[in-house]
């Protein structure tokens, strides 16, 4: 009885995984296809990876994306942390609801709207105050920070709400002024949430196509834009190759982050157990 149940469960699990990861597996497999036709298997080859390295357009776009994602993640983490702190710690001040909903609006706003609104803003700003001049990396960065901040703020404020408020009060009581409490006590304790927020902001920025397309200018093509336009002209196995590389890099970061936090948690539990047994 028990054996049959688990047998069925394994099938269901396999189907679930196939649904989620099948397309990615196909993408990876076909990146090693020798044939130029994406859908026909022509034997194993690494030639598309070689082609990729020669394609300056894709490499430039990849470099652009990385730079934007890096700067976005850093700035969004800083802004999001401040916003999250205000949402979680400042109580119900006047305009609390308005503040919280404007911060989190990008989470529910359709990307097309956010993108269009950002474009209109940049155009009218240029007309009125002459800045930012034209569209490019700067405008993409500003637009990305806007929506990535929302995600970081949510992560940070929920972590802060879980944190024992009396830890901060104790630091204040022991003689540390509020700003010092924030940097010496609060920040180190919520550091894991900041890392998650940074990684999320990085991936979101790296991945974004819709908003980027609205606010991009000449010379600021990002990787998703490049891939999308390449795909419209006809899919080249080179796209599969770059997709595979991105999947590999992303999995590397996610897997190592989870292994580290899993090990730290295990160590912490073991030590807590020991402390309990010693008494």
């Amino acid at each position: 009885m028990k054996g049959r149940t688990s047998y069925k469960m394994i099938i269901v699990l396999a189907l679930g995984y196939a649904f989620l990861f099948g397309p990615i597996v196909i993408l990876i497999v076909y990146s090693f296809n020798a044939s130029k036709l994406v859908t026909v298997w022509g034997g194993f080859s690494l030639k598309w990876y070689g082609e990729l390295l020669k394609d300056k357009g894709i490499l430039d776009a990849f470099w652009n994306s990385l730079r934007i994602a890096f700067c976005t993640a850093g700035f969004a983490t800083a802004l999001g942390t401040i916003a999250g702190y205000v949402m979680a710690r400042f109580g119900r001040f006047r305009g609390h609801t308005t503040f919280a909903s404007t911060i989190t609006a990008p989470l529910v706003m359709p990307e097309v709207i956010t993108g269009l609104a950002s474009l209109l803003l940049f155009v009218s700003m240029e007309r009125i105050i002459g800045w930012p001049q034209g569209r490019g990396m700067l405008t993409i960065w500003i637009a990305h920070v806007t929506f990535a901040t929302a995600f970081v703020a949510i992560i940070v404020s929920s972590r802060l709400r879980d944190m024992d408020l009396s830890i901060e009060e104790a630091a204040l009581d022991l003689g540390a002024p509020p700003l010092k409490v924030f940097f010496v006590i609060t920040l180190p304790i919520i550091a894991p949430a900041l890392i998650s927020g940074w990684l999320l902001a990085f991936t979101l920025s790296l991945d974004d196509l819709v908003i980027t397309s609205f606010v991009a200018g000449p010379g600021s093509t990002t990787l998703p834009m490049k891939v999308f336009s390449a795909a419209r002209l006809g899919i080249s196995p080179k796209i599969n190759a770059i997709g595979t590389l991105i999947v590999l890099i992303a999995s590397f970061f996610i897997v190592s982050f989870s292994i580290i936090s899993f090990k730290m948690e295990k160590k912490r539990k073991r030590e807590a157990q020991q402390a309990f047994e010693n008494n």
Binding site: D164, S166, D173, L174, G175, I189, E271
Partner: protein, 384 residues
């Protein structure tokens, strides 16, 4: 022994015998109130606490005791009133500059620091020289018997150890006033009894003035030299544990501290040295060895503690202070037994009797008719 100049300058934390508190209280709380929106948490509290005293604020949850403590620490701003500590008004002093330190209910140790760093944190904020910090931290960890755990982090400690570290962390700053918020709430029952005694020993060793908050009357009576019973944001009664227990000033205190038999009635005779009260619930009049400033026919309550009730099989000879009933329930607790006696008119009275010898057959048993009596010095008349 040579002392460094810094050490000489620091004030002694021990109680200063040359300053009698009768003339000048060390902590003075004057007409303090705190409102949250429309809710009154603390209303018009006046309190004076002497140097070196361990004072307990006792009350059920939501009675405002924690709010009062947080106002002393500076974590809440009073709506009205003044707090004066050692002659200094605290109103304009932010929490991080007050000579007061608080131990939190959760202990609030910094999880990312070792025990040593936790304890050193407060001294670092005061810019104490590094060498002195190390000495003082080690000295205080030794006092709370935690020096072997200096390099551990808080999750590697048991509840009792965390409490010691939390205590060390505030004691090391040599505060003028120590605040303890439910110091035993995070410990299990057995450890609690042991730590109550140890904590008082440490506090008396150091000689620091201390205000604690608790909802546990046993804890308050074990640890404090004086208790304030609080209800709905006000103080009902203040006094040493024995006074609050034996001479409650109101029905609330009588019922809150320990259990009590309350009989309602009216005064039939009121003299300077005694009073006689007629209660419908008991057959005979109650004779109490103290009078009240009241009028005849005034409605009052008589409070008699269960351990002051005497359970007998024979009818007492006295004219006053006894009643009869049927034993409804007996709770045997080893050192004493509690008898629930149903009086003739249906009211239930509680009496505890020490089990002085091992024979059981002489004690009252279920459904038996018994007489409850008490001495004139046992009852307390309550007008509130």
């Amino acid at each position: 022994m040579t002392t460094t100049p810094e050490q000489k300058k620091e004030p002694s934390i021990g109680a200063d015998a040359s300053k009698p508190f009768v003339l000048k209280p060390f902590v003075e709380i004057i007409n303090i109130s705190k409102n949250f929106d429309n809710f009154v948490a603390v209303s018009g509290i006046n309190l004076q606490i002497a140097e070196g005293e361990i004072f307990a604020l006792l009350g059920s949850s939501g009675c405002g005791k924690s709010t009062l403590l947080r106002m002393l620490a500076g974590l809440e701003t009073p709506t009205t009133g003044e707090i004066i500590i050692d002659g200094q008004d605290m109103a304009s002093i932010p929490p991080f500059k007050r000579p007061i330190n608080m131990m939190f209910q959760s202990y609030a140790l910094f999880p990312h620091m070792t025990v040593e760093k936790n304890v050193a944190f407060g001294l670092k904020q005061d810019r104490v020289p590094k060498k002195q910090i190390k000495e003082r931290v080690m000295e205080i960890l030794k006092l709370v018997e935690m020096e072997a755990y200096a390099k551990r982090k808080s999750h590697q400690l048991s509840g009792g150890q965390m409490q010691r570290v939390a205590l060390a962390r505030i004691l090391v700053k040599r505060p003028k006033l120590l605040l303890l918020d439910e110091p035993m709430a995070a410990l299990d029952k057995k450890l609690r009894a042991q730590m109550q005694i140890e904590l008082v020993d440490i506090l008396e060793d150091v000689g620091v003035t201390c205000i604690m908050v608790t909802h546990d009357q046993e804890e308050a009576m074990t640890m404090a030299s004086r208790i304030a019973v609080m209800d709905k944001g006000s103080i009902i009664q203040t006094g040493p544990p024995s006074v609050v227990y034996e001479f409650p000033n109101s029905r609330f205190t009588a019922e809150f501290i320990g259990s009590v038999n309350l009989f309602h009635g009216k005064i039939v005779e009121d003299a300077a040295d005694h009073a006689i009260i007629r209660c419908e619930e008991i057959e005979n009049d109650v004779y109490i060895d103290h009078g009240v400033t009241g009028t005849a026919d005034m409605l009052v309550s008589v409070a008699i503690r269960p351990e002051k009730m005497i359970v007998t099989h024979d009818k007492p000879d006295e004219k006053y202070n006894w009643t009869q009933g049927i034993v409804e329930d007996i709770v045997y607790l080893g050192s004493f037994s509690t008898y629930y006696v149903k009086l003739t008119n249906g009211k239930r009275a509680i009496a505890t009797q020490a089990n002085l010898n091992r024979t059981i057959h002489e004690r009252p048993t279920w459904e038996q008719k018994v007489y409850l009596s008490w001495l004139p010095v046992s009852g307390v008349m309550l007008t509130k």
